[in-house]
Point group: C2
Chain length 428, copies 2
C-alpha cells in the first residue's frame, strides 16, 4: 500500500503528542488504518527539541504554507490554535486538496461553516474531533453512532481548568483566587485565565456541539456566557449542605421546533447526578437522543496525548476512506435554522444568597418583591445574624429568567437589603 504522508503545523503541546504517536505507534496505525502513515514535515517558527522524539525522521520548516502546498502530503494537521494564521493555513491546505485535521475550537466555532463548505468543494475531509472534549469522541458519536437520533439536550463539563478549580474549592473549601493562583503555578491555568474562567473556551465547544446536534450554524456571540470568578467558597459550602455541587456547564436544549437554548454558566447540580462525580481536569458530555435516551461520554478534555488521540482517530478514519469521496460534513449540518432563545426566556430554578439587615420585616419585603414577579420561593434559610446583618439563602421554584432578574432589581433597591451576593441557576 502506498504510504500516506502527514504534515503537522504547530509543534506545541498537541503537535508534540501527534508526532509522538506517529513515531511510537506507526505499526498500530498502519494495521488499524490499512495503510502506512508517515510524518513528513513539521512546521514551527521557533521549534524546541522534544524528549523521546527522533527529529531526524521528519523535516522541520518555518514555512507552514509550504506544508499546505506540498504535493507529497495528503493530510495536514493544524494545531497552532487561534483564528489567524490558522485559518489561512487550513484554507490553503483544503484548496490544495489536502485532508485537514484541526484541534482549533475557536476557529471552527467562528468560521466552521466556510471551512466545511470549502472542504466539501475540494472533496476532502475536515476533521475536528479534537476541538471539543479533547480525547472524548463526542463528535464522532453525534455524527456516526448516534446518527439515528434527534437530540433534545446536550450539556456537560467542557473545560478542565475550571472543573479543576471548582473541584478544589469543593473538596478543600478554598476560595477562587487562591486556587487560581495555585493552578497557574502548576501550569493548569494560563497566565491570562480569561479564556477558561470566563467561559470563552466552553462557549466555542458548545457552539460546535450545537452545530452538530441541532443542525444549525450558530453565532458564537449569541451564546450566553457567565464564568466562575463570582463563585465563592461560601456558595459551594452552602451547595454542599443542600446536596449540590457547583459546576460550570455548557447547556444546549431544543425548545419547540424553532428555538434552542445555548448557554454557559455555573449550575448547582444534585450530587447524585452522574456529572456531579466528574472532577478535576476530566470532562463529560451528556446527550439526550430521542431513541438512545440519556448517554454520557467521559474522559480527559485536554492534554498532549488525549487531544492527539482524537486527532489520530480522525486520521485513521480519513486513511481508511481515502479512496472514497465522503466530505459531505458541511452538507450534513446547517440544514435547519434554529434561533437561540433569549436568556430572559429560559426557565430555571435559582439559588440566591443575600446580605440583609438583621431586622424584622426583611423577609416579608423580599417575599413581596418575588410575589410581584410570580417567583415562588421553595426554601429559605436565615443564618443567625450579628444584630446588624444576616445572611439569607433562598431557593426558588422554576421561573422565567426575565422575571427573576426583574425581582432582583426590586430586591436590590430594598433599604433592608445590603447586597445580593450570589445568584446561581439550579438543577438539571
Amino acid at each position: 500500500m502506498t504510504t500516506v504522508n502527514v504534515g503537522v503545523i504547530g509543534y506545541g503541546t498537541i503537535g508534540t503528542g501527534v508526532v509522538r504517536i506517529l513515531q511510537k505507534d506507526a505499526a498500530l496505525l498502519e494495521k488499524r488504518s490499512g495503510r502506512p502513515i508517515a510524518l513528513k514535515t513539521v512546521a514551527e517558527l521557533h521549534p524546541t527539541p522534544r524528549e523521546g522524539i527522533d527529529a531526524s525522521r521528519f523535516a522541520l520548516t518555518d514555512d507552514a504554507l509550504s506544508v499546505c502546498r506540498d504535493p507529497d502530503i495528503h493530510i495536514v494537521v493544524e494545531v497552532i490554535g487561534g483564528v489567524q494564521p490558522a485559518r489561512q493555513f487550513i484554507e490553503e491546505a483544503l484548496r490544495n486538496g489536502k485532508h485537514v485535521i484541526t484541534a482549533n475550537k475557536e476557529l471552527m466555532a467562528k468560521h466552521g461553516r466556510e471551512l466545511l463548505v470549502l472542504a466539501h468543494e475540494h472533496n476532502v475531509n475536515l476533521g475536528f474531533e479534537a476541538s471539543v472534549g479533547g480525547g472524548i469522541p463526542i463528535i464522532n458519536a453525534l455524527t456516526s453512532s448516534l446518527a439515528g437520533n434527534r437530540f433534545a439536550r446536550i450539556y456537560g463539563i467542557l473545560n478542565g481548568t475550571t472543573n479543576y478549580i471548582l473541584t478544589r474549592m469543593y473538596n478543600d473549601g478554598v476560595d477562587f483566587d487562591a486556587v487560581l493562583q495555585e493552578a497557574q503555578a502548576l501550569g493548569y491555568a494560563e497566565a491570562d485565565p480569561s479564556s477558561d474562567v470566563d467561559g470563552h473556551d466552553i462557549a466555542y465547544k458548545l457552539c460546535l456541539l450545537a452545530t452538530i446536534a441541532f443542525d444549525t450554524f450558530f453565532d458564537i456571540n449569541e451564546i450566553f456566557r457567565e464564568g466562575i470568578r463570582s463563585i465563592t467558597a461560601r456558595d459551594i459550602a452552602v451547595a454542599k449542605e443542600f446536596g449540590y455541587v457547583i459546576k460550570i456547564l455548557a447547556v444546549g436544549v431544543q425548545r419547540g421546533d424553532t428555538d434552542v437554548e445555548l448557554r454557559v454558566h455555573p449550575v448547582m447540580i444534585p450530587t447524585r447526578h452522574p456529572l456531579a462525580s466528574v472532577n478535576d481536569a476530566f470532562n463529560a458530555v451528556f446527550v439526550e437522543g430521542e431513541n438512545v435516551g440519556e448517554s454520557m461520554f467521559y474522559g480527559r478534555g485536554a492534554g498532549e496525548l488525549p487531544t492527539a488521540s482524537a486527532i489520530m482517530g480522525d486520521m485513521v478514519e480519513i486513511v481508511r476512506t481515502l479512496a472514497l469521496q465522503r466530505s459531505g460534513m458541511a452538507s450534513r449540518f446547517g440544514g435547519s435554522t434554529h434561533r437561540i432563545r433569549p436568556m430572559g426566556d429560559i426557565e430555571s430554578r435559582y439559588y440566591l444568597r443575600l446580605k440583609v439587615a438583621d431586622a424584622p420585616g426583611v423577609l416579608g419585603a423580599i417575599a413581596q418583591a418575588f410575589g410581584q414577579q410570580e417567583v415562588s420561593i421553595r426554601s429559605v434559610k436565615q443564618q443567625e445574624g450579628d444584630g446588624t446583618a444576616a445572611e439569607l439563602i433562598i431557593m426558588t421554584h422554576a421561573v422565567r429568567e426575565a422575571r427573576m432578574q426583574a425581582a432582583l432589581t426590586d430586591i436590590r433597591a430594598l433599604p433592608t437589603v445590603d447586597e445580593v451576593c450570589s445568584l446561581i441557576r439550579v438543577g438539571l
Copy 2:
C-alpha cells in the same frame, strides 16, 4: 440518489424499534446518510401488529432466507438472537453480497471470527455495535475514535437486569430473590433469568469488547464467570458501611505482552468511582487507552429504541460508504494471540464474611491460615456474637487468587469456622 433497501429479520422488541425509526425518521436518515433508506421486508414467523407502525408500507414474510437472497435488498438487519438459525441467515446474506447489521452478542461472541472473515471475502460490512452495550457506541469508539490507542484495561457494567437488581438491593436493603421476582413481574428479567444473573450475557459482551481491544479472538468458554445469585442484602449493607457498592463487572486487563485477564464477577467498588453511580438499567464501559487515558461511555444498555439506535448508527455508516470497499474489520482484529490468564493467577483484594464460633482463638486460627498462604489482612470486624456464633468480616490486601482459595480451603476446615458466607473481590 438511488434508494437503499433494508430487510429486517426478527420482529420482536429490537426489530420493532428498527422498523419504527426507519418509518418515523426517514428524512433524518436520508439527510445524515446521503441516501434514502427504505424498509422493504420484515421476516417473522409469528408477527404481531405493533402500535404506531404502518404495516402497509413494507412486506411481511415468514421466509427469512428469501430476504437474504432478495436482489433488491442491500442491507439485512438480524435481530432474532441466538446462534441458529441466525447464523445461517447472516451467512446467506453475506454470501449474497448484503451488508449485515446484527445485535446478536451470543452469535458474534461464538462465531464472530468466521462471520467477519466471510463478510471480508464478500466485500461487505458486518456491523455489530448493537450487540454490546445497547445504545452505547463503544465498538465504534474502539475501532474509530480511539484507533490511535493501545488498550490497557476495559471494564464496566454491561447488563441492565443485574444492575437493576443490585441497585434495588443497595437502595432498599432487600434480598436477591425478592428483587428478582419483582423484576420478573415487571418484565425486566426473563422467566429463566440465568443468561443475566449468571453472567452469560455479560461474558458474550466482554468477549466481543476484548476481541477489539486486545486484537485477539477469544474462546468464550475460557472467560471466568460468576453471577450475582450469591450476593446477599447483608453483604451489600456491609459494603455500604465500608464505602463500597457491589456491581457485577466485566473486566478485561492486559498483563504483559502475552496475557489478558477476562472475567465476569461481582466487585466491590468505592462509591467515589464513576461506575458506582451507574444505576438501574444503565450500562457503562470504562476504557483505559495509552494515549487517551481513562474514558467512560454511559447509556441505556438495552431496550427497543436504544438498541435500534445503535443499529441505525451502523446503517448510516454503511450507507455513507456504500461506494467503498471497507470490510476489513476481520483483518483488523485477530492479528495478535493473547492468552487468557488463569483465574488463579489474577491478583485482587478480597472481602470475606464468615460465621464462626463465638469463642477465643478463632481469629488466631484464621489469621494463621491466611499467614501460611501469605494473605495479609487489611481489616477485621467482628460483630457482637450471641455466645455461640459470631460474624467475622475480613478485608485483605492484594494477593493471588490461587493463594486466597488455598487459604479458604484451610479456613473452611477449621472446627471453629461454621461457614464462609461470602467472598467478593474488591476494588478497581
